[in-house]
Symmetry: D4
Amino acid sequence: MNRESLYRLLYEIKDGNVTPTEALEKLAILPYEDLGYARIDHHRALRRGFPEVIFGSGKTVDQITRIAQGLKEMGQSVLVTRVDPSAAASLELTLPEGEYFESSRLFFWGRRAGRHGGRVVVATGGTADLPVAEEAAVALEVMGNEVERLYDVGVAGVHRLLSRVEDLRSARVIIAVAGMDGALASVVSGLVDVPVVAVPTSVGYGASFGGVAALLSMLNSCSSGVGVVNIDNGFGAAALANLINR
Amino acid sequence: MNRESLYRLLYEIKDGNVTPTEALEKLAILPYEDLGYARIDHHRALRRGFPEVIFGSGKTVDQITRIAQGLKEMGQSVLVTRVDPSAAASLELTLPEGEYFESSRLFFWGRRAGRHGGRVVVATGGTADLPVAEEAAVALEVMGNEVERLYDVGVAGVHRLLSRVEDLRSARVIIAVAGMDGALASVVSGLVDVPVVAVPTSVGYGASFGGVAALLSMLNSCSSGVGVVNIDNGFGAAALANLINR
Amino acid sequence: MNRESLYRLLYEIKDGNVTPTEALEKLAILPYEDLGYARIDHHRALRRGFPEVIFGSGKTVDQITRIAQGLKEMGQSVLVTRVDPSAAASLELTLPEGEYFESSRLFFWGRRAGRHGGRVVVATGGTADLPVAEEAAVALEVMGNEVERLYDVGVAGVHRLLSRVEDLRSARVIIAVAGMDGALASVVSGLVDVPVVAVPTSVGYGASFGGVAALLSMLNSCSSGVGVVNIDNGFGAAALANLINR
Amino acid sequence: MNRESLYRLLYEIKDGNVTPTEALEKLAILPYEDLGYARIDHHRALRRGFPEVIFGSGKTVDQITRIAQGLKEMGQSVLVTRVDPSAAASLELTLPEGEYFESSRLFFWGRRAGRHGGRVVVATGGTADLPVAEEAAVALEVMGNEVERLYDVGVAGVHRLLSRVEDLRSARVIIAVAGMDGALASVVSGLVDVPVVAVPTSVGYGASFGGVAALLSMLNSCSSGVGVVNIDNGFGAAALANLINR
Amino acid sequence: MNRESLYRLLYEIKDGNVTPTEALEKLAILPYEDLGYARIDHHRALRRGFPEVIFGSGKTVDQITRIAQGLKEMGQSVLVTRVDPSAAASLELTLPEGEYFESSRLFFWGRRAGRHGGRVVVATGGTADLPVAEEAAVALEVMGNEVERLYDVGVAGVHRLLSRVEDLRSARVIIAVAGMDGALASVVSGLVDVPVVAVPTSVGYGASFGGVAALLSMLNSCSSGVGVVNIDNGFGAAALANLINR
Amino acid sequence: MNRESLYRLLYEIKDGNVTPTEALEKLAILPYEDLGYARIDHHRALRRGFPEVIFGSGKTVDQITRIAQGLKEMGQSVLVTRVDPSAAASLELTLPEGEYFESSRLFFWGRRAGRHGGRVVVATGGTADLPVAEEAAVALEVMGNEVERLYDVGVAGVHRLLSRVEDLRSARVIIAVAGMDGALASVVSGLVDVPVVAVPTSVGYGASFGGVAALLSMLNSCSSGVGVVNIDNGFGAAALANLINR
Amino acid sequence: MNRESLYRLLYEIKDGNVTPTEALEKLAILPYEDLGYARIDHHRALRRGFPEVIFGSGKTVDQITRIAQGLKEMGQSVLVTRVDPSAAASLELTLPEGEYFESSRLFFWGRRAGRHGGRVVVATGGTADLPVAEEAAVALEVMGNEVERLYDVGVAGVHRLLSRVEDLRSARVIIAVAGMDGALASVVSGLVDVPVVAVPTSVGYGASFGGVAALLSMLNSCSSGVGVVNIDNGFGAAALANLINR
Amino acid sequence: MNRESLYRLLYEIKDGNVTPTEALEKLAILPYEDLGYARIDHHRALRRGFPEVIFGSGKTVDQITRIAQGLKEMGQSVLVTRVDPSAAASLELTLPEGEYFESSRLFFWGRRAGRHGGRVVVATGGTADLPVAEEAAVALEVMGNEVERLYDVGVAGVHRLLSRVEDLRSARVIIAVAGMDGALASVVSGLVDVPVVAVPTSVGYGASFGGVAALLSMLNSCSSGVGVVNIDNGFGAAALANLINR
């Protein structure tokens, strides 16, 4: 309901086509569906440039399935994050045409968005950062982005990264995924002139404090042009990169 | 020194125009100037799309002035952040054509970049967030961006924000600056389909822990599409928004 | 034993109806029962406006059962929190007329308090906040309050919340339950003129630090009129709202 | 602008008294005044039951004075918190009828609200908690509440507190202000059947961590019925108590 | 090897009864036994007034058994802490005369020390603090102290505690065991003139942070005369109380 | 007012010597004096074995002076902690017979308690820990304890400590004062069989976090028999040692 | 590719032996192998003085096996850390000549490096620190160092440590492994004139915060000459000690 | 007093040249001088390979001067750290031949140690890290090490660092000094095969938390061979590097 459509509605009252009571109803009823425990926001697809995403963690399989069902019935695509294999099996019964990506724990049902924008590079410091990186990469592909994976290019062997500088510089936006010292984001950002989305991961032990060390390192990047998302938030990085890349 | 110019250099060796020893020197000497305490990176203007920025805090006035002088002599623009009025007075003696922005504590000398990209909205939760917001806004303007300021639209009175939704939606990128509960970033991001750069500020007291409350709130934004920078890092937000807006 | 009854007791000594030794006993024996590991406070029902509540976590099923039995024998109602299904099965054997609320993990035996006060709205940011919200809602109902549930109205889609403003404004007190950025409390409080009890939840991951992000956000609410309880403390919120609503 | 007034406006369009364009303007222009750096929300007095409060810390004296002036011109009362003596002197020039409360650092201009509700007891653990307690007490009085001060009744000498139990029990709501171990809130709450608003203070040193010890203690109160506000937030406690007491 | 025995040894050299080489050996060989992974300190029984205590957590059952065996062979008593039932079963095979205390997870073999000193009161805030309190109480009894248990006297119902003031005041030292707000230590200490050993427990959830809230509360006790030990460290409290009580 | 005196009072009612109204007054009026901002607890001298101590920090000079004056008038001794030189000058005007101890920032007026108990050793890790150690040592002397100072015996040169083992072992209780790694408490406690009161100090920088490193080290002492007080709390250590030493 | 070999390459271009295109390829192709999820850096053996180490935690058994296989095929030695027994069984199938060290969870395949440098002492505070100490000790032996183990010499009985001073002083470098108060590093370092590598362990509970107490203690060592590695990082300590010992 | 000299002393008793009483005295008197507030350890120069270092912070100028005077009189060299200019002026009066290094706040009196070992490279991330780096560099020079300074080579422009790889690789040990993201240590360590001593600095703001971000980053270095010292501890890094370099 934007300014223009409101203007039109008001004119329809003036012209007698719509009664004030009807107009009031139209203004009051907001376009979401009520499942009791979750309100599905059908306008979000238009507003955010992407269908509703269901954060799978902390919801019962039954809740996920019913929300997904509701979205499907509205003809919307569905992306569910943090789906473990047993929940995936259950979702596949309800949405048999859906696809489950095991390495990223994503479940997708619907039409992939059309290809748009430039290339998004997803880089990781190590092998253990893969699940988070894949959550970002698969989500980006589903949203219509071209993705290049550049895994295990951490700064412990900085030449591995430097040999791929051309790849990094050809991107429209880079997602840097790293745990432990989180130094990847600073080094990558210093090499390029595109936005870098930094994702700290909980990879590490002891004084990594579940990703806090990498998070702080990335927030304090000595190279500017870095935006940070939550620890292990691969999808969040993809959503931000997707908006930048449009 | 990119792939192409390296190729050309190698051919010049083959053609005998350049001796191997000369080539070695060219490859080894990197294009920065050594002041002893600071290496000025003249390639950065090309690489990052913006001239060297001097983080003023923690440097002596003498150090700042000499670095700025070195940059000016190379014909580069200079942006100094966190300049207090007394340091500004000293800088103005060395760089009399420079401009000091008191509310943002920025000092700029040089040519502003040409206008590019869309509009950047800089929004704040409260009046006390102004210095950080102005650091972002002025830096963005100097880098060639159109900026719209939307100050004191915090979520304590959410209708103030809602009345400006059209402004928010017309932006290419939004910078949300807020201290205390940092809720502005989540609410703004939920209303638009453009990237949001969130800047937590140290505004607050007690359990705000110098901006940590706002920082955590922004990292945990329940709306995706938000990239977070360091507490009070107005310039960092501007640098990221500038790269997004190109 | 208030001032008046003490006065009466002292007069009875004067009148010779009570010996000093008897009076001393009356003054000394406080009205609780000693089970060895738990002292049941039978005066509490009068003093706090609600029967003894047993915090179920960290107690053995046997301990819970015996405390509950003791309370029942005194004719008091019993509310046990954080009861997992296996403990509930055991409690139902001892107190067969009791009721177990699975979504909120509450067990109740006794008479519900008479309806009093205005309406209490329990609002949540997301679907995953339900268990905490239900702990609050069921406890409130047992204590005699009218409860309206308003679930999944988080600020990522602020219009969902705004469409229910009339509901919010008609409440005597609102409980705002949210994890992640905890922004719900600030936005709700800014819309109404009634007290808001904020409950941070441990919903989230990474830098939510088990609910700390939401807790800090709520303590720093930019809108005043918010009182915060411990993370996931649905019952504590209900107890406070019940006292406000009397 | 509530449902009813919107209904009336829509009818006026139908009746031709208001053109759609005029109606659009009315709907769009929200009732706040724009000073550039601060938006004054004139509806807030109606909505929150109290005039706009200016948080003085972090604002320049000039900003405070101009916001206060704007409110005064609207005929609204003004309450400014955290006003140091020099800022107070400046405010008194602009608003000579205003009153400055040095012990609480509050500045008030306008009409005190009419007496309403029951009594509010403001209790402190020690002498050093006075400034925070006075911020609460004076704000409550200005908002029309009867206040009783009960200072230095900390639990180190629990009989001091017990001797005042009758005072505590006669209150409609109690504000417990304490630093260090913050135990006052638990003990007070265990003695009464009214809501307790707990205010941790930064009184203490070392492992009090600027009030964190008291804050955590209060959040973990072993007695229910306690709502906690930010460290040193006397005004916030008053605002919440005022809403409870209406 | 104290000053006196050294003096005697030196004289024996002078008298020719001991050669310097022999003396050197005597001085060098310290009285502990080397098991490879654990050095048993047989002098400790004399020095600390109590036999070697084996902290059971983090050691294999085999390691515990062999250390205990070594101590037994030296004729020393053995106290093992944090022994889970399966490890206890194994220990009982090796040391069949030993005793396992299930509620406190202690295992003891040997002679109990003779009764000494005054009475030690062990008080807890709630029922869930029992395991820690029992670790203290049983250890104290084994070390020869008279112990009085005063459980579930938390400050939520301060009269429960006050009715036992005479018990508290008759103690030589009091151990106050409490989780959540940890307020018990402050209130108890304010009522008596004997040392209070405070033991924070990990009882609680959310912002209790595994006992940190209680720990900080106890360190910031507004009543002096309180010494704090580590979270859940019942044995440590007993060891300190035992030394005070001698 | 103990059990016995209550018994006597009740008999006096019976005998008609005291009216119930008079008795009520006697029971209600607790023995403290109300200065408005501070309640002086005259019973404390009897109850805690030491006169009221005024924590000087966070109180105005005027408040300190008036509280001290009130205590003096009751004939009680006065000990004020954390008195800076200018406040001391003011106190000396009011209580000219008082004594100011500059190195410990203590002010004392009254009679020193009679010598009792054994010796208390106050040991420090370094020279910078002196102010805290002196606060403990002077307070102990005023309370009637024999004190031996053992300064700068930190574990960086463990032989310095070992050469004084006889001194340590002859004490009834030891106060170990140390910042940085706080290792002094563990090493001292391992050498003796008397209680050790550990005082972490804020001496250090960086990752000492204002004494937190030493505090945690002391709470985790690998040698039992250690009770910890707050960071820099020299007086608290003295109060605990005094109770142990009686 | 060092300066000299580059010089030779450039000359080969000049001499026409190598074309610029071929040279470009040589310069661009860095010597690592791409497995998709892990880049094996074959130069590292030369550069770091030790073969590639695989951090086993967070990688699947399949990933570990394939990386190890790749290294073996290059003729390089392989050291895998944090290998649990089931992963070890799988590795032994692929690399049957490999050796699994259960107490240290290390797996090694290849040739041990030749003996070099002096002796490395690995000391622990307690028995529970063994797994971390063994990770260091075995890794050091594999890298060609002579290792002496000095276990359970914690400062609770400082004479145990002092009796081994000669052993400590004869080392080229000492690794001090300790949890809880972490005091071992300070005391050891004060006794010797060689570098000490300090390894905090997660041994402990409560306020040890998973090794943070020991970590902070070691970072604040009052004796200089101490370098600290991450909590439980036995291998990291070995790698540093190995570089020092060469 | 080593094993040999003890042996000799014991023989002298046997031979009657020394009485047991004299021997006892010799054994008891340890070689330090007692100034009351500081024990000067004259053996340390021999034991640690470097004269006593006075940590200037937290000591009065008078204390520093008298400790320095005591050391000078023993003929020992003196190094004082964290000396501000006014304290330096005072020291120069007492030790006029001493030297004050303003950029590093060090004061030195005595003979510099003879040149030993290889080269130590001191590298910094930025210009603001200079004071800490100079504390390390000057201390190293005084201790007899050859030092090469490599300042402002942070990873934001990684080519600045790479162009100096030959310098890094020729060192015996490298000190990496960096604030903010602390990434310098990881990148440097990955390029070389010598030990790296990492010094986090408090340079930065907001979420750098006074150097904690850099500290954690360095402890979690993804490249092994890094030992970390306390935040801003330039001298500590020098002391460790000196021991490694011998």
